[in-house]
Amino acid sequence: MVLFDVPGKLNMTGQIRFVLDGEVRELRGVAPTMTVLQWLRDDARRCGTKEGCAEGDCGACTVAIGERRGVDDMRYRAVNSCILFMPMLDGKELVTVESLKHEGRLHPVQRAMVECHGSQCGFCTPGFVMSLFTLYHSGKEPQRETVDDVLAGNLCRCTGYRPIIEAAQRMREYGAKDQFHRRAAATARQLAAIERRDTLALEKDGQRYFAPANLEEFTACFEQYPEAALVGGATDIGLWVTKRHQRPETQIYTGDIAELRRLKIGDDCIEIGGAASLGDVFDALLAEFADFGEILRRFGSVQVRNVATLGGNIANASPIGDIAPLLLALDAALLLRRNRETRLLPIDEFFLAYRKTALRNSEFIDAIRIPRARSGLKFRAYKISKRFDQDISAVCGAFALQLDGSRIAEIRMGFGGMAAVPKRAANAEAALIGEAWNEASARAAMRAIERDFEPMTDMRASAPYRLKLARNLLLKFFLETSNQPGATRVIRRDMAA
């Protein structure tokens, strides 16, 4: 069968397996682009999970995904089921709002929401309950910052959030352990039993889906289908399906490939696998570059971060992606790979034109290498948007500066939202190299930066505002790195961390 003519071990059963309410579900013949939300509402008739937007921005569809942690423990992450494809459930536990009641009694999270008056129209509520469920299981203290972060991807139009935050802070009063804690070991064993070591291969109505279990099978598969869409978290490809009504013919899911989810902190650089989720690398990057962490936090909600990949954000070459500007400033390099050949490409050379990259046929981002923070390196990044959380930037600007005595030895500035591609501010950088780092040089660079960009006007910001921001962010960077008096941030960085 030509369809599955790829080397390696193929799982030809055409079925996916996952755990739901303590039972292993085996499904055959699911369309590769059927979303978990569609399956829940249309096939499983579990209508508690709601659709509010079908684009991963409102959280009404939030469900929890359980994964094995060691042999006898579980961890739960919130995801948006509206842009999660069914095959991605393979080998996982799915928890929906209907799963929470136990022996006819409300879960502590649900009880808290009732007692704190956390629902009005109730339509957002199942999503909030599921996000809070993952917080409940994370063991994290529900300080305001943590709750804000956990709930950033859940919109409520009725309550104004205050009672929901209170519910988050009080939920453990209604029970510190739930049935999921109690059956964690059993669930972990169930998951171990359905773990797949071969490549899942599905085909339906002309759509193909592969989920390779290791790098070798992945590269072979990608050779065979160079036009395939690589899917990490489907936070982008999910939108092709729900918004543009497109159906990618072939998808290769990268989330099961441990090698591509690696995180290595070396002496010189941090190496991040191309399919690592933002959630996977969040802590490491926050520890290394505080602002990198803060941008990642604001880049997307927890639901998005849990699945969206760094590699995906770079490879789709969006002019408004928030990761690329940071990597440009930090002088990162991409390890690109095609089968066994690899090459290292400076990130500056990766973005060629609007949504066009240097990736060749069957080539993919194996890893991203970010140089470690050298001593004396000053790094800052700023994301400007209408709303702080879960909003796409009008402008994202990142700056890295290395002084040699009082002179500027090196300065790199990466911007998103300013051009058709994420781009460095070459003129502004040139204006500064070798200069002293003072207000006069900063102001000269602010003038130079106007020659670097011709941004556009759209619903997020006008061109003049974008240009003003680029200039002012440079000024802000100067202020923050030259011991000027006066605070410069409305969100304190200690709050972000």
Binding site: R41, C47, K50, G52, A54, E55, D57, C58, A60, V97, E98, L106, V109, Q110, M113, V114, H117, S119, Q120, C121, G122, F123, C124, P126, V129, V147, L151, A152, N154, L155, R157, C158, G160, Y161, R162, I164, K243, H245, I384, S385, K386, R387, F388, D389, A394, E439, D458, M459, A461, Y465, L469, N472, L473, L475, K476, L479, G486, T488, R489, V490
Partner: protein, 787 residues
């Protein structure tokens, strides 16, 4: 029948005044609450899709649905020419809203035709196959263009008192300017949806997510050619409404019903979020020109306001919305001489509609902006100027529309909030802090709200209820109001339970249906509880009186000795369970069902002169907000908010608090991050949460102290002396806008008043800052840095 008083003994209340959770709360949190899309789908259900215009204004040159009809799964496709009765208008009151465009399309997003197919995806795909060709016509896209071309959906309305021109000319000082106020999408989490199920005799059952089932019933009957008694509209709950489902649900319900009639099969129509936002109306954006004469104290002598709103392509509810803007352009202040000219501009954009506040917020924005300008011109704290202009108790207490402000409690509310929010101490601290902070600036503002309660269209101020008592002692209640999250059913159940001395849980409220209570008004104008609570109480009183009469005769006890309390009835000191008495009454053949009907007294005004008493009473509140602004980027954070709001004597403090807090945050979104953006062709570009930003969790101020003015009591005889609470708190958010303006003013050491339009996005804030700096001669930002 006389209207029962509700001033029974307070300490006997079992349900009323308690913070009982929403009656659906347990279902909400468990996912068991059923919204229309969750109803088990009937056999042979079809799914519908509406194809809308992608141009703002044009003539339909060609419309060929044959390719659509030939697509797999398609059961029917309908356009204007296919309508069964020839009726094609679902405008509320005024015509202008066709189900399907006839020859002309008047906004990008206007319904042109609809398809029903086996699946939603098939219906959408098939709709895309139709041939639609337009001849584009010049489009009016902005209020300014409409004003220039004199394009209006309804005639201009003017409200005058005294001699505005003369008083302004003679006043010691004057200011003038223009303010632009943005619109707002409702962004109810549950989008529009309807499901129509055909029955025998051609009858139609329509499940609709609507605030106004009776109007949907009327439209479906009219368009389909049925009698009203052949159409039943049912609404269990909405996943949010906010005014967006007052008239806007009609299109979806009517189209689903048309396709169901055509195919004889049930049809569901659920636009996705993008289509919902593109097809449906929003809050009106306004521009306002103001000229105000005042004295050195900041007291207003006269105002001359020109209000112009973007109504869109049809009148819809724009008449009463703009009337309410006029009625609130005084907010809390006595304006001796007044001219308010209100233009209802026609544009080739979606027809704007009801949205929580219904024009009131925009009217209030104008006077609050003017007051802020007065204060900054005089160098007096804006709060002082606000207080000096408040309506008086004995004099200066008549509104421009001649209604007397009888229950003014604002001075007390403001005084209390000044203290609890420590306004003056913080004002000092902030001014001092700003002097030390070159790049970040803090701002503080305290603003009041006075909001009129009643439908301005007097005949809507009526309601009905149907109460059934069963022999097991349980009660089932229907009323004309709809539940959209505001807790109406909860409050009404509390009221009815207390009438019988029962628990809240003993009363079950079932879906709103036109089959039980006829000719209802929209659940709107904050009046849901005032109207339906009272109608339900009247129904309960009727049955109770029958029970008392029966018991008095049966037990030979004076009626006055019969008391319902603690789920028991005390009959001359002998107690029996409520259910026991009900059983005895049943056996004695006493009717155990009753209707209740209520019409609001007192309200009446003349829409031609804009004079009279449009409102039964006012609800009051005040808010103090503090923000921190980044003067390099225009970003800001709302750091602290103190609210004090008047709900009369609360029936349910938890539910009222939910309305106060939720309304405030929604209002904050309107004035801050929620920006509607149309491209040059008049196509909405912000039609999903990825581009349209309502407040998120972290936008809730770190310090957020909302309180109910628990000493307040409605002086009008409103049920349990409570006050309506749905809309008024939204306008408390005007304080956030003015706090931002205050922070910007700090950039110029409070010497120049910044000019800021709404919504105050970071871009507008930075532009206001830069304009201020330019006037100060400081061309580059933050020159202080060098010092």
């Amino acid at each position: 029948m006389t209207v029962p008083r509700t001033s029974g003994s307070e300490d006997m209340l079992r349900a009323v005044r308690r913070p009982v959770p929403h009656d659906s709360a347990e279902k909400h949190v468990s996912g068991e609450a059923i919204y229309i899309d969750d109803i088990p789908e009937p056999r042979a259900l079809l799914h519908a899709y509406i194809r809308s215009s992608d141009i703002a204004h044009g003539r339909i040159k060609k419309l060929d649905l044959a390719p659509t009809r030939a697509q797999p799964g398609v059961a029917a496709a309908l356009a204007a020419a296919d309508l069964p009765t020839g009726h094609n208008d679902i405008g509320p009151g005024f015509a202008g809203d066709p189900v399907f465009a006839e020859q002309i399309v008047e906004y990008a997003g206007q319904s042109v035709f609809a398809v029903a197919a086996e699946t939603r995806e098939q219906a959408r795909a098939a709709a895309m196959q139709a041939v639609v060709e337009y001849e584009e016509l010049p489009a009016i896209l902005t209020i300014e263009e409409a004003l220039a071309q004199d394009a209006q959906v309804l005639p201009t309305v003017t409200l005058m008192r005294g001699d505005a021109d003369k008083s302004i000319a003679k006043a010691p000082r004057r200011i003038s300017g223009r303010l632009a106020i943005g619109g707002q999408d409702h962004f109810y989490l549950e989008g529009q949806i309807a499901m129509a199920v055909p029955g025998e005799d051609g009858d139609m059952l329509v499940y609709s997510s609507t605030q106004h089932p009776s109007e949907i019933q009327h439209h479906v009957a009219h368009i389909l050619g049925l009698d009203a008694n052949g159409v039943t509209v049912e609404t269990r709950r909405m996943g949010g409404g906010f005014g967006g489902k007052e008239t806007q649900g009609a299109l979806f319900a009517v189209v689903a019903a048309l396709l169901a009639q055509k195919t004889g099969r049930p049809v569901k129509l659920r636009p996705d979020r993008d289509d919902d936002m593109i097809l449906t109306g929003k809050r009106h954006d306004f521009i306002a020109d103001y000229v105000v004469g005042f004295d050195e104290e900041g007291r207003i002598h006269g105002v001359d306001f020109m209000l112009a709103s973007r109504c869109g392509m049809s009148p819809d509810l724009s008449g009463p919305v703009n009337d309410r803007a006029i009625f609130h352009a005084d907010n809390a202040y006595f304006l001796p001489h007044v001219r308010i000219v209100s233009h209802r501009s026609k544009t080739h954009t979606v027809s704007n509609t009801a949205f929580r506040g219904f024009g009131g917020p925009q009217g209030m924005m104008v006077i609050e902006y003017a007051i802020d300008e007065i204060a900054r011109t005089l160098g007096i704290d804006p709060l002082t100027v606000r207080k000096r202009n408040l309506y008086g108790k004995r004099d200066r207490n008549v509104t421009p529309y001649t209604m007397k402000v009888e229950d003014n409690i604002l001075a007390k509310i403001i005084g209390e909030l000044e203290r609890t929010s420590e306004y003056w101490q913080r004002r000092k601290a902030i001014t001092a802090w700003n002097a030390t902070s070159p790049f970040l600036k803090r701002g503080l503002a305290l603003t009041p709200v006075k909001f009129g309660i009643a439908f301005t269209a007097t005949h809507f101020n009526q309601a009905g209820a149907l109460l059934l008592v069963y022999t097991d002692g349980s009660l089932k209640l229907n009323h004309g109001g709809t539940e959209m999250g505001q807790g109406l059913n909860t409050k009404v159940a509390q009221i009815v339970a207390d009438e019988f001395g029962l628990d809240f849980e003993d009363v079950k409220i079932t879906p709103t249906t036109t089959g039980k209570v006829p000719n209802t008004s929209a659940t709107a104008a904050s009046s849901g509880t005032d109207l339906n609570g009272r109608a339900s109480l009247i129904a309960a009183r009727t049955i109770k009186e029958r029970l008392i009469k029966f018991a008095a005769a049966h037990f030979h006890v004076a009626p006055g000795k019969i008391v319902f309390a603690n789920r028991e009835v005390s009959i001359g000191g002998e107690k029996m369970a409520f259910v026991e008495l009900v059983n005895l009454a049943y056996k004695a053949r006493v009717s155990l069902s009753a209707t209740g009907y209520f019409a609001t007294p007192k309200v009446a005004y003349d829409p031609t002169t804009m004079r009279g008493r449009p409102f039964l009473y006012f609800a009051y509140g005040a808010a103090a907000s503090e923000v921190l602004v980044d003067t390099l980027t225009g970003e800001y954070k709302v750091e602290r908010v103190d609210l004090l709001h008047d709900v009369g004597k609360s029936i349910n403090p938890a539910i009222d608090m939910g309305q106060i807090e939720g309304g405030f945050i929604q209002g904050m979104g309107w004035l801050t991050s929620e920006e509607l953006y149309w491209d040059a062709k008049g196509r909405l570009q912000t039609h999903a949460p990825s581009t349209y930003k309502i407040p998120a969790c972290s936008d809730l101020p770190r310090q957020f102290n909302a309180r109910i003015a628990d000493w307040s009591r409605n002086r009008e005889d409103v049920v349990y002396r409570s006050k309506a609470v749905g809309e008024p708190p939204l306008m408390l958010a005007i304080s956030v806008f003015h706090a931002i303006k205050d922070a910007i003013a700090a950039v110029g050491q409070y010497q120049i008043s910044p000019q800021l339009d709404a919504p105050a996005t970071p871009e507008r804030v930075l532009n206001a800052i830069d304009a201020l700096r330019l006037r100060l001669g400081d061309h580059l930002p933050a020159r202080e840095a060098a010092e």
